[in-house]
């Protein structure tokens, strides 16, 4: 049965792109190693063979050049998917992203659309050190004019990619390396799941309840969804019922879903692999305080990466990034406190 077909997140992304390229001749892909290699993280696997080098373009290591070119192509009737290999590389090309891609529609008073998808790999946990392990979604989400999506599983990865390609706005599509199901990353059973073959959209801006619960809400995104689910399973054995809200999109942020869950559970933990200060965790907590203050029975708590560069050595990195154990400890402390 097609409905039971299982794919890894990486293959779900590649399938989504292939289906949209098949349906729409204006969709094309460019970036470093997206062609013969199929994307360092496999997001464009098989596309070169299927669509040829005019629509699957390997670029020089020239992010300002090819991201800017994506903008120009998008303005002129194309729907480019442009890959920034690691989000950490934004430093060499951020002007094109936040000053140009994200602002042209606004500056033009809505007359010029930039229907472009910027895909990028995020996240750590495999000792790739401080320039290849960041998530940085809080920074992208902070800057107006680009939607930001972060799928945590194969089903959402496909649906969000199709929605992103069809969206008339710039969408930053951040895939966490740990949820892709790559053979060369730590095995993650949650990185494989049922993915319908026919194209479908997962709406941008809608969170999903990844696990229902009643005692505490854990709001998170990306690989931390998996860690939170693992924590929730163990907490259940202790009689604690945790609800996991997978934001899926940071922009637009599903504030209603955050407040609705907090109104139900009265407790909030935010798990964010991004740096702690000035980021997603603060935004989610503020949302709950603004929208569901009277429902909160305890101060919200966050489990995040501290405000340090991501360290290399395994014990350092494992300590720094949110873990199942840290999430459990946070929930236990919160519930003991009442």
């Amino acid at each position: 049965m097609t409905g039971e077909r299982k794919l890894t997140t990486q293959k779900a992304i590649a399938e989504a792109i292939a289906q949209e390229m098949d349906a729409d001749p204006t969709v094309f892909v460019m970036g470093e190693d997206v062609g013969v290699y199929g994307g360092i993280f496999g997001a464009t696997e098989g596309l070169l063979d299927e669509f040829g080098p005019d629509r699957v373009k390997d670029t020089p290591i020239s992010e300002t050049g090819f991201i800017g070119a994506g903008i120009g192509a998008a303005i002129h009737g194309m729907r480019p998917i442009v890959e920034l290999m690691f989000v950490d590389f934004f430093g060499v090309c951020m002007d094109q992203i936040y000053n140009n891609m994200a602002k042209i529609h606004y500056f033009s008073g809505g007359n010029i659309k930039v229907p472009m998808v910027l895909t990028t790999a995020v996240g750590g946990g495999y000792s790739d050190a401080g320039q290849h392990s960041q998530t940085l979604w809080g920074m992208f989400a902070h800057l107006p004019g680009m939607k930001v999506v972060v799928p945590s599983n194969p089903y959402d990865a496909k649906g969000l990619m199709i929605a992103a390609i069809r969206d008339d706005n710039p969408v930053v599509y951040m895939f966490h390396k740990g949820v892709l199901g790559l053979g060369w990353m730590t095995n993650n059973p949650r990185a494989t799941g049922v993915v319908p073959e026919a194209p479908y959209e997962v709406p941008i801006g809608k969170a999903a309840i990844a696990r229902e619960g009643s005692d505490v809400t854990i709001v998170t995104v990306g690989l931390s969804v998996h860690k939170a689910l693992d924590a929730a399973e163990k907490l259940a054995e202790e009689g604690v019922s945790a609800e996991i809200l997978d934001l899926r999109s940071l922009v637009p942020l599903d504030r209603e879903a955050i407040c609705a869950s907090v109104e139900k559970t009265h407790r909030l933990i935010v798990v964010d692999e991004d740096y702690q200060s000035f980021g997603m965790s603060g935004e989610v907590i503020t949302t709950a305080i603004e929208g569901a203050f009277d429902y909160l029975d305890a101060p919200p708590v966050r489990v995040t990466t501290p405000d340090t560069p991501i360290p290399y050595s395994h014990p350092l990195e494992a300590w720094a990034l949110p873990s199942t154990e840290r999430i459990m400890r946070a929930a236990q402390a919160m519930l003991v406190a009442g």
Binding site: G68, I71, H76, G109, N111
Partner: protein
């Protein structure tokens, strides 16, 4: 290349229109900012970069443009927008921050965007160059015989975007013409203090494409060189780099004391004002009469005045319209 008479007249008329537009913006910019200059005050607040003296760069390409061609320009964009035929009323209205402006008051004079003709500009040095490459990719993919023209100052030739964009355009043989408007100063820093080569056109060699220098800020020279570069690009011959020595007659921005340029430099520059010298040449060559010159000035001044009037009579956007147009659907709330 013999320049058809109608092209000479068209170029001259457009130069007059540009100059008049810049003069009127300048007058209205200062009218309510003095005696103590306040950049935030008045009908046109903010920075204002005017292009008086750089008209030849703009008008020389004009007769070679076709529907669908795209231009990316700089923080000093008015001459190029006018020469391409961007709606003058909407452009003026944008500069005055009105709801009828190109961007409904969201962009201002450094962020003028038009769809027909396709024009964009930016306040970041070199930012438009990769965008022109992408426009050319779209033209090639869609099989249109269009060309993207990317204008930038000589200061931008030291930006990474310059090298990345030209490399990509050359690598993929795209229909782009890169045009360096060399007015010799990046704000206060002369090219001699910023650039390791004398001619930025020489840098074309690094990417295996033609590099051509127009040394004299002459509309006819620009016409000839741009004609060849645009024709080459349109015909599938790939990109080229054109460098035009031009003059910024006024300061970097209005209100700039311009103390970094000597009186002698400024005197020489004003002596060779291209509007004056081109008029003299057209008179001498019998292309235009004194009566023609007067008639053109009247007609262009009337057109500019109508645009200014349109702008000043247009309403401001509602303040809460701030929240519109972040995305194509409204998602932003307070």
């Amino acid at each position: 290349m013999a320049v058809p008479r109608e092209h000479l007249i068209d170029m001259y008329e457009t130069m007059v229109k540009i100059r008049r537009f810049e003069e009127r913006i300048r007058e209205l910019y200062f009218a309510d900012k003095l005696p103590a200059f306040d950049i935030a005050a008045g009908l046109i607040p903010g920075e204002m970069h005017l292009a008086a003296g750089q008209e030849p760069v703009a008008v020389g390409m004009r007769p070679h443009l076709k529907d669908g061609d795209a231009i990316t320009a700089t923080h000093r964009p008015h001459h190029l927008a006018i020469a391409q035929g961007v709606d003058l009323n909407k452009m003026a209205a944008e500069i005055f921050g009105r709801d009828t402006g190109l961007g409904r008051g969201k962009g201002g004079h450094m962020h003028l965007f038009s769809t027909e003709p396709s024009f964009g500009c930016s306040g970041i040095i070199g930012e438009g160059m990769p965008v022109a490459v992408g426009a050319a990719m779209a033209f090639k993919a869609r099989g249109t015989a269009n060309v993207a023209l990317s204008f930038f100052g000589e200061g931008a030739a030291n930006q990474g975007a310059f090298h990345e964009a030209i490399n990509l355009a050359a690598l993929w043989s795209l229909p782009v013409v890169f045009v360096c408007e060399d007015n010799a100063y990046a704000i206060s820093v002369p090219k001699t203090a910023s650039t390791a080569v004398t001619d930025n056109s020489d840098r074309a060699a690094a990417y295996g494409i033609p590099g051509v220098l127009v040394p004299d800020n002459d509309p006819v020279s620009v016409y000839e060189v741009m004609g060849a570069a645009i024709e080459r690009a349109r015909g599938g011959g790939g990109p080229s780099l054109v460098e035009i020595r031009t003059d910024r007659l006024w300061g970097h921005f209005e209100g700039d004391a311009d103390a970094y340029r000597t009186d002698d430099f400024k005197e020489d520059m004003n002596e060779r004002d291209p509007l004056k010298t081109f008029a003299q040449r057209l008179l001498a060559d019998g292309v235009l009469s004194e009566a023609d010159i007067t008639e053109i000035a009247d007609r262009m001044h009337t057109e500019v005045e109508a645009a200014i009037e349109f702008a000043m009579n247009s309403p401001y956007p509602a303040p809460e319209a701030t929240l519109d147009h972040v995305f194509s659907e409204r998602t932003v709330t307070l």
